[in-house]
Amino acid sequence: MADCPHTIGVEFGTRIIEVAGQKIKLQIWDTAGQERFRAVTRSYYRGAAGALMVYDITRRSTYNHLSSWLTDARNLTNPNTVIFLIGNKCDLEAQRDVTYEEAKQFAEENDVTCLYLHFFFCQCRGENVEDAFLDTAKKIYQNIQDGSLDLNAAESGVQHKPATPRSPISNDQPPSKESCAC
């Protein structure tokens, strides 16, 4: 992954998407995957509405780290934080090192939602990336709708604000965990 510079600590991105007719602004925190940044990136979990754990299907080592990422995500976020598991680089089927089944089993055992994506370059550009964030946002939105995520709670990670006199915009902050060391 020489094309992509290493993430130092955390990088940010924003994206405005639409869920159920509502415009939602996602504030994405792309945290560094490297072990040496761990101490720093742990500071950033608080107040996240959702988390995306990404591993590289062609490298088992990234998959093996998932449980420690998950432990951090569970311990440092609130119980309603939506956690998604994402298999990266699904286009490199020939070099696959982690089977779909075992990832699925891991997701089921740990009660996280499993998604398979097709990134070409992590955090740069890729297909289905949009879908991952869209699905996460939908799930968060659903949690708000059914009341399991309280907007008024200090650490919900979601702000409700009228951007224009008509349409309210929520501001989500799902940090995406790049567990593949790229």
Binding site: I8, V10, T14, Q27, A39, V40, S43, Y44, T164, P165
Partner: protein, 530 residues
């Protein structure tokens, strides 16, 4: 009498059918007590009122009842009885002759409203049947129909409903009418003998006595019905604010002058909204906060704050667990770092904007390399360079007013300030992260604090210079176009946002204090361990 709700309720919403049970009517055309039930689309909402003397139905279904009752009166009372009989047959409503029990029964049964389609079908069938035979059939006796007959009618209607041919229905209904007439006359005979009145015309007097009796009972029964109806109405109105709202809504609708004015109003509203949206978009372009956010300034500031808070907690816990000797050793360092942070404000006040010109990228790079952390201020320098380039381009043109609009300059000014500030905050954030990650570096935290303080000073100075330069640009245009009034608030706005920007830069720098103290403590702890 219950359970008459048809299984296949049709899709018709409008179930406005009048269900009338004619109690009596005599040769003198006395007011005919009429039981008028208006079924709205909601079967539970019923308005039952007594409408005496109103022979012509106010509301009916397709005017059929209307025509029928008119016809009935022209035929005389006799034919009106046929109507009475048929209508009672149609609606399964017993007449009041049976007393209160029956009346209540009726009310209950009428709650199970038959399908209007079936009603219409049955009605049409009965009309066909009665028209040719009506005159002959009038036997002068028609008495309140009994449950029995109604039930029969119902059964037949059910047959109709089940898909029997209309013709077959006609035949059945004809039979039914005949059967009922003869049966009723028999009943009338017995009532005659029991009353024991002497009569010239047997059938007529029978009628009269029958009606008198029926009328008394009807009046009493209807009073109760009216009470029930009123009570129902009151209960519904009191417990259904929607009804009141619906009424108010309808009332308001009536007051509105015309459709065109409504449309015009809607159009004006839409135009106003569009204008507001446009203004909002314009306002966002010169809104420092929005632009700062677009450049991830707030995100970095927030992340830095999180980092700072965590370091603060770490500092507290490390201090509380430290041995006294170690604490004595590290304390001067912590105080020194704190002093560096407190000096920032003082240094700033000594300088004035005029003497501020500096080599930004050289100073920034110098101060960052002093940190010895391998961070390169690429983003910061790029942004700063592009801003300076824009200003230089502006000055190189002779006729400023022609190439640039004041609004454009203002937008560019605020945007530049927001960008530079956002990148500055990002730089401090990154520095904070690296300070925590590389606390074994040879450079002391005090040294790093000093470098960062100088960096903060350079950034604040740069913001001041940019604000001054943009204001000069605006003033030049104002001189050329003689629009000082328009430009002055813009200049004020730029200086205001510049001080805002400096505030963010200083906030970001101050958030680094716990981070540096944390790093200093951690390295002390590491040293004592090794």
């Amino acid at each position: 009498m219950k359970g008459t709700v048809p299984e296949n309720v049709s899709g018709e919403d409008e179930m406005n059918s009048e269900i009338s049970a004619v109690a009596a009517g005599d040769t003198q055309q006395q007011p005919q007590p009429k039981l008028q039930q208006t079924e709205s689309e909601n079967p539970s909402v019923q308005v039952i009122s007594r409408d005496a003397g109103d022979a012509v139905a106010a509301e009916d279904e397709g005017g059929q009842t209307d025509a029928k009752s008119d016809e009935g009166w022209s035929w005389g009372w006799g034919s009106s009885f046929i109507n009475a009989a048929t209508s009672s047959l149609e609606t399964f409503t017993s007449q009041v002759g049976e007393g209160l029990a029956t009346i209540i029964d009726t009310v209950e049964s009428s709650l199970g409203v038959p399908d209007p389609q079936e009603l219409a079908q049955a009605e049409a069938a009965v009309e066909k049947a009665s028209e040719p035979n009506g005159a002959e059939r009038v036997e002068g006796t028609a008495q309140p129909c009994e449950k029995e007959s109604t039930d029969k009618g119902k059964r037949e209607l059910v047959q109709n409903e089940k898909g029997a041919e209309v013709q077959a229905g006609n035949r059945l209904l004809e039979e039914e009418v005949q059967e009922k007439s003869s049966w009723l006359s028999g009943w009338g005979m017995s009532s005659l003998t029991s009353m024991g009145k002497s009569l010239v015309n047997k059938s007529q007097s029978l009628m009269n006595s029958g009606f008198e009796k029926a009328e008394v009972l009807a009046a009493g029964g209807l009073d109760i019905l009216e009470t029930i109806g009123k009570k129902t109405y009151t209960t519904l109105t009191e417990h259904d604010p929607g009804l009141r709202r619906a009424r108010e809504f309808l009332h308001l609708q009536g007051e509105k002058p015309s459709l065109s004015s409504v449309l015009k109003e809607a159009q004006e509203q839409a135009e106003k909204q569009a204008k507001l949206d446009e203004e909002f978009k314009e306002a966002l372009k010169i809104n420092f906060g929005a632009l700062f956010e677009d450049n991830q300034g707030f995100a970095h500031l927030e992340a830095l704050e999180m980092l700072s808070n965590q370091s603060e907690r770490k500092v507290q816990s490390l201090l509380s667990h430290m041995a006294d000797d170690d604490l004595e050793l590290v304390r001067p360092h912590l105080v020194e770092i704190k002093d560096v942070f407190q000096q920032l404000g003082e240094v700033q006040e000594k300088e004035t904007a005029d003497e501020l010109e500096h080599d930004f990228s050289k100073l920034v790079t110098e101060n960052l390399s002093e940190l010895h952390m391998g961070t390169t201020p690429d983003k910061l320098n790029q942004v700063q360079e592009s801003v300076r380039q824009w200003i230089a381009d502006f000055y190189s043109h002779e006729d400023h007013g022609k190439i640039s609009d004041v609004k454009e300059v203002q937008q560019r000014a605020i945007q530049s300030l927001a960008e530079v500030t956002a990148k500055a905050v990002e730089q401090f954030h990154k520095a904070g992260e690296l300070v925590l990650l590389q606390n074994d570096a040879e450079k002391s935290c005090v040294h790093r604090a000093k470098s960062l303080a100088r960096l903060a000073q350079v950034l604040v100075t740069e913001v001041d210079i940019l604000a001054t330069k943009f204001s000069e640009c605006l003033n030049k245009i104002a001189e050329e176009k003689n629009i000082a009034d328009e430009v002055n608030p813009m200049v004020t706005n730029i200086y205001l946002e510049a001080s805002n920007a400096c505030g963010y830069i200083q906030d970001a720098f101050r958030l680094l204090l716990p981070v540096l103290q944390h790093a200093a403590l951690q390295s002390a702890v590491n040293k004592s361990l090794s």
